[in-house]
Subunit: 341 residues, 2 copies
Amino acid sequence: MNQTPRTVRIALDAMGGDFAPANEVTGAVECLRQCGGRFHVVLVGDEPRIAAELAKHDTAGLPLSVVHAPAVIDMHDSPVVAIKTKPDSSMVKGMTMHKQGEVDAFVSAGNTGAVTAASTLILGRIPGVSRPTVAAIFPSESGPVLIVDAGAVSDCRPQFLYEFGVMGSIYSRSMLKKSTPRVGLLNIGEEDSKGNELAKESYKYIAERKGTLNFVGNIEGRDILKGKVDVVVCDGFVGNILLKFAESIPGYLKHQFRKFADRGLLNKLMIGALRGSLREIFRDMDYTEFGGVPLLGVNGVTIIGHGSSPPKAVKNMLFRAEETVQFRVNEHIRESLQGQR
Amino acid sequence: MNQTPRTVRIALDAMGGDFAPANEVTGAVECLRQCGGRFHVVLVGDEPRIAAELAKHDTAGLPLSVVHAPAVIDMHDSPVVAIKTKPDSSMVKGMTMHKQGEVDAFVSAGNTGAVTAASTLILGRIPGVSRPTVAAIFPSESGPVLIVDAGAVSDCRPQFLYEFGVMGSIYSRSMLKKSTPRVGLLNIGEEDSKGNELAKESYKYIAERKGTLNFVGNIEGRDILKGKVDVVVCDGFVGNILLKFAESIPGYLKHQFRKFADRGLLNKLMIGALRGSLREIFRDMDYTEFGGVPLLGVNGVTIIGHGSSPPKAVKNMLFRAEETVQFRVNEHIRESLQGQR
C-alpha cells in the first residue's frame, strides 16, 4: 500500500448494505460519472444481481468491473466465524483482493463487526498498532471532530486509547486539515482524578506520552459539539453509543418539526417554506455527507458505511477511500507508532 | 420519610449553583408565589447574602425561612473530604436537617459528586440498594425517557445496573406516569452477545430477574430519542457523557441557526420570525423545564440540579422534590428491592 497509483482502484462490497446491491451500484455509477478518471471501481458480489442493477444505468465507458462472490455475510453472522466459513463472500473476496494488491482500498456498508474482523484478520495490523479503530466524524461549532474509537474495541486498555489518539491525530491532520489536532480524553469531569478506572489510568498513560500528541486533557460530553478538541478519545463502547445517539438527532428533530407542523395550517406553511433552509442548517449532522468512516490501524484502506447507506453515502465513501489512499494515512501511522511500545 | 405531610418542607441549598444565592432565592420566591400553600422552603446558606437577595423581592407572607450555613462546598472540593471537614456548609447542614426530619427533601444545584456523597453518607441507603443512582430525563418521540445511571457510579457491577432498572421503573411509573415502563440495557447491538464485559454480564443478570421488571433487552444509542424504552440502564460513566452531550445539542443548534442567519438579511429575518416557534419545537430538549434530577436509593429525597440553573430551573427542582415526596417513591423502592440480593 505504499504506492500512490494514478488511478485509485477500489473494491466495493456490492452486497454490504441493507439495500444492496441497488444503492451500491447506483452510488458507484454516480461516483464514476463525477470523476471516472481518478477511480476504478470493482463491484464485488453476486454477479447476476449486480448485472441486473447495472442494466438500469448507462455505464458505457465507466471504469467499472465486477468480481463474482455469491455468499453474503449479514448482520446476524458472527464476524470471525463468517470470515472463516464464507471465503466466497463479497467481504472476504474484496478484502483478499486488497491484501493481494489488486485494489488499493475496500469499501463496505456491511456488518461493521465483520468488516473490522475481516480487515484485521486478512490485512493484518500496522506494526505498533494494538487494535485498529473506527474513526467517526461528529459536527461541531468549530468544524468536524473525530471520535476514536467509535465501535471497534469495546473493552480497552490505556495503551489502546493512546494509540487511538495518535491514529486519530494523523487522520485529522491528513483528512480534516487540522494542523495540530487537539486530543481530549472523553470523561465525566475535567480534573485528572475524575472518571472510571479506565479513564483515570488512560489519563496518566496519555499524559506521560504528551510529546507524541497534542493532549489537552479530559473533556466532557458537552465539549464535543462545542468543538473544544479535534480528536475525542474513548473506548469503542462509549464511542459507538454516542455515535448512534448523535446520528439519531436529525430524526428526532424532524419528528419535532412535524409535530409542530401538525398543529395547524400556519405552522405547516411555515415549516414547508423553511424546508430548504432547515436542510442546510442540519446538513453537518447528516452522515451521508461524509459517507463512511475509516478503520485505522490495518494494513490497508478500509472504509465502513452505514447499513442503510443511500447511493449518495456510497459515493462519498468511495471519495473517502481515495483520499485515505492519496494522503498515505497508513504510512504516517506506521512512522508514529513504530517503537512506541 | 414515611409520612406525607400536608405542607412539604424543602431545604434548598442556597449556595449550590454557579449563580448562588441569587438564582436560588429568585427560584424559591417564584415557586412559593405560584403555590405557597403547598410548600415551606428553608434557604440554607450564608444568611447575610441570602438576606440581601431576599430584599430584592417582595416576600411578605411567603412560607420561607433561612438557616445560616456560611461554608460552601465548591466544584473543586473532593466530595467525601468536604462533607467531613465542612459541617457548617449549606450542603451538610441542609442534608442533616433532612436526616433529622426537619425537612422532607433537599434540593441543590451544587457539585453533583458532593450532593451524591452527602446524601449517601448522611441519609444512608434504602435497604436493598447497593448504590444510589442519578436518574436523568431525556426527551423522546414517545415522551420522557429516564437514564439510570447518569453519573453517580462510574464503575458498575451487573447488580447495580439491575437495581438502577428497578429504581428507574418506579420513578418512571410514579413521576412520568408510564404504567409498565419498558427497561432497556444500553449497548452497542441488540443481540445478547453484544457489548463490553459489563454489558454482557448485566444482560444475563437482568434477564434472569425479568419477572421483577419489564426488561425488553439491549437497546442502542439511536433508540433513546426514538423512545423505544422508558428506562435506559447504563453505568454512570456512559450515562453522564450521554447526558452532557444531549444537553449540549440546543446550544449547537442555536449556533447553526445563528450561522445561517448571519449569511444574509433574508435569513436573519426568517430566523427572527421563527424564534418563538423554534423555542417551542426545542422545548423538550431544555433541561430547565424539568429542573433537576433525583438521586434514587437514598433514605430521603434529594434533587440535584445543574450548576448553571436559572431561577426557572430552581423553581422546577422544588416541584420535582414535592412530587417525589408525595408519590412515596422511596417506599416503593424499599418494597421492590428488599430481599432481592
